[in-house]
């Protein structure tokens, strides 16, 4: 039995320790906001937070995730009100939407570590998240907007 703590909730899972975390999140726990893209850590669609780091859950084994703190897109904020989610909504960032939960999880790590990122910082953080629709310009703009919202919120 493997215990996973996902979005603050404990789950006891009867699964192979070599199973990718993504499978457990989607197929066993039933949180389907995190997507399967390439299965090889090359696209970023499956990005979740493992102890705050933006890991690719398609290649992260349950044995690594066991007992650690996992956050998926469903747990990024209580009411879908993370500054990034608000900015994403306001700027209509997604097109098909498939990659966007991964994009948001990566962007959240960037904003936590760098509250006022430059375009270069955004490129450095986000280039491992591929968008087939090519929404990169809107992603970049929305990250800037979220950074501004976050700083504004911090002032209040």
């Amino acid at each position: 039995m493997i215990t996973l703590t996902v979005n603050g909730q404990k789950h006891d899972i009867d699964a192979d320790p070599n199973m990718p975390l993504l499978w457990a999140i989607r197929d066993i726990i039933g949180l389907t906001g995190t997507k399967f893209g390439c299965g090889a850590a090359q696209c970023g669609a499956c990005t979740v937070h493992l102890n705050g780091e933006a890991v690719r859950s398609c290649v992260t084994k349950l044995s690594r995730a066991a007992g650690q703190k996992i956050v998926t897109i469903e747990g990024l904020s209580l009411n879908n009100d993370h500054p990034l989610q608000k900015a994403w909504n306001e700027m209509n960032v997604p097109q098909c939407g498939y990659c966007q939960s991964g994009q948001l999880m990566s962007a959240a790590v960037l904003l936590r570590e760098n509250p006022n990122p430059t375009d270069q910082d955004i490129d450095d953080a986000m280039s491992g998240n591929i968008c087939r629709c090519g929404t990169y310009q809107r992603i970049r703009a929305a990250i800037h907007k979220a950074a501004a919202m976050q700083m504004e919120g911090a002032k209040i």
Partner: protein, 201 residues
Amino acid sequence: MRKLLVISCLLLIVGGVSLSFRAERKKNSYAVLPKDSVGSVKAFMSVYKVLMSARCMNCHPAGNAPLQGDDSHIHTMNVKRGEDGHGLYAARCSNCHQAENTAGLHMPPGNPKWGLPPENMKMVFQGRTPRQLALQLLDPKQNGGRSKQQLIDHMAKDDLVGWAWHPGDGRTLPPMSRAAFAAQVRLWIAKGAYAPSAKAK
């Protein structure tokens, strides 16, 4: 009583001296052979071939991005070194690279220490001539603060260095075994740790 005191003092001195020799010996426990610049350089040229192979050089790049593949192309995804050598923001090495190789062709290789040398000591291999690399490896200010003994230990025993000989599916190995490599490192240093001439290629 006085005799006893003198004998005790002598014993203490002898003991202290022998201990200090032992400590020195432990500090420099690598073999030392008669100085031989030709033999030393010959051994280093074998070491150089390994260090410049893709498995070693790809994580000792001249720039701030790691390299990938047997052709040592720049790592895709715009991955950067970062201050600690383990990447930046959402592109940290261990976000994709696990503690072990992920099975399959073109899957991320892995090791618990996966990463580049840090920003403040890049330990570049790429583009270095044999002479430049030998001098760099011997300089504690450029080699991570390692003594010759620590350099030997790093090459012979370090787990991340050892990954090069277990690189996962589809990756070529360095041009000699780890044991042969370690033996050449030891020989290079034992014979005087000479750097090749500037003309050596």
